[in-house]
Subunit: 278 residues, 2 copies
């Protein structure tokens, strides 16, 4: 059963930031989608509060705010600076009305091979943000990234690892902490079904990102497909997510050099068509 | 402590198959290495028995024979044909004196999104080969491949998954079945240390492959680094492996378009230097 468009949010990376945030909001609402996930580059130069109102007035929800400054750093000062950056971003997320702040945790600091140390810095960084997140009412969504990004983008690479981190930092399960599950990053995981089930039982699913894995894949970052273009069984995946009781938006997040060059109105039609064809 | 070269084997993919197998054997032995891991393309046209003798006469061990025909197939007939292919390769492995036959299990059959089905075909395929492997005295080494190869090369993507498969197919633990652990495919794994420990306790480590993950990585297949060029903590990794009691060869397997273009003698010197610098 196709996902109704009003239950779908558009991550603005899909559009490649070709237009102003207001034009982007208008185009997404006009195309019939129900939400948007903006990036900090689109917000920080302006006023988050004003943009948040503009988004709500257009009838859109904010499925998530992208994304954290990377936590692992080469010095304690740089680590602290990342926390301050993330605190400001959390305040902006609250003004935007974002349903979560997406944590892309960061990879190894430049020149480092200390994976365990980077993971510890990530845990400490998330711990440092939890009080702010609770006070602002913006949950932190740890997004496990595909293992091919472990060096440069995130040392959090499986749902199991992200859930273990949630348990460690928020053992009661009532804190502002959960996971963003992206099909691209997780579809290969032998424990996928079990871990989606666990995430649901532990009430941790804050976001669900859709796109597709192309075979072959020509670039590690910018060669994702629209839903249906690749090898991921998205019907099965969506059912697993919904079976947990998750009833939030599905966020279309497609990093693709090819797609970004398409004019926004035309691209949004392609996005809609890809979802209704599922 | 650097690995002595006589404990290191050269996977011939590292050299890009630029010379005949005999010339390659001579060059590897001349450079002071203790083993070789040849590919089927180098063996099947000739006589495995003769080449095996040539390798032994050169004083080299065969750390592994690369590699299985992919198991997942679009029809039962194609699946059966892959089993027959692999049986022949196992006979060649025995004649070569290979210490294991490396199983790169295969990805999704063309056009398929049935990951669970492909994994079942892999399990069935390995089960079908176990009697032959035992009779020939060539253990089957399941090599978990990096998750970025799940679509096109292997749906076995973590050490844990490979070990679970070993337990399923060989519950007694005395069968000809184990794993090949490659640093490139597994370094990112949050459960790496625990799973290397488990692999050791369950007596399953049949091969250990070294190379490095470059940051950035420009190509999904052909952009690996020599040990020390990338971000993997190879000293730590090697210690984990040796702590299990594994005392087999370390196999240098570096798929790199850049390195392949280097003349073999010069490239083997670079390989040796990268290892002694660790």
């Amino acid at each position: 059963m196709p996902v109704p468009l009003h239950n779908v949010s558009i991550n603005t990376a899909t559009l490649g930031y070709k237009a102003s945030i207001r034009e982007t909001v208008d185009a997404i609402a006009h195309a019939g989608f129900g939400g948007i996930a903006p990036w900090r580059r689109e917000i920080e130069s302006g006023a988050a509060r004003t943009i948040g109102r503009y988004i709500r007035d257009a009838g859109l929800r904010v499925s998530g705010y992208c994304r954290s400054t990377y936590f692992p750093a080469s010095s304690p000062e740089a680590w602290s600076a990342s926390i301050e950056d993330n605190r400001q971003a959390l305040r902006d997320a609250a003004e935007l009305g974002a349903e979560c702040f997406v944590l892309v945790a960061g990879g190894l600091p430049n020149g480092s091979r200390d994976l365990a140390g980077a993971r510890q810095q990530i845990a400490d960084g998330i711990a440092a943000l939890m009080r702010d997140a609770a006070a602002l009412g913006v949950p932190l969504a740890i997004e496990p990234l595909h293992p091919m990004y472990a060096a440069d983008r995130s040392c959090i690479n499986t749902i199991e690892q992200a859930l273990d981190l949630c348990t460690l930092l928020d053992p009661s399960g009532i804190g502002p902490l959960g996971v963003a599950i992206d099909v691209y990053h997780t579809w290969w995981d032998p424990k996928l079904e079990a871990m989606i089930g666990r995430a649901g039982r532990e009430n941790r699913i804050l976001a669900y990102h859709v796109n597709d894995w192309l075979d072959p894949t020509s670039d590690l970052l910018m060669d994702r497909g629209l839903p249906g273009e690749g090898v991921i069984d998205l019907s099965w995946f969506g059912n697993c997510i919904r079976d947990t009781g998750y009833n939030g938006l599905s966020e279309l997040e497609v990093f693709s050099k090819l797609l970004q060059n398409t004019p926004n109105d035309q691209l949004l039609k392609k996005c809609a068509a890809s979802l209704t064809a599922l």
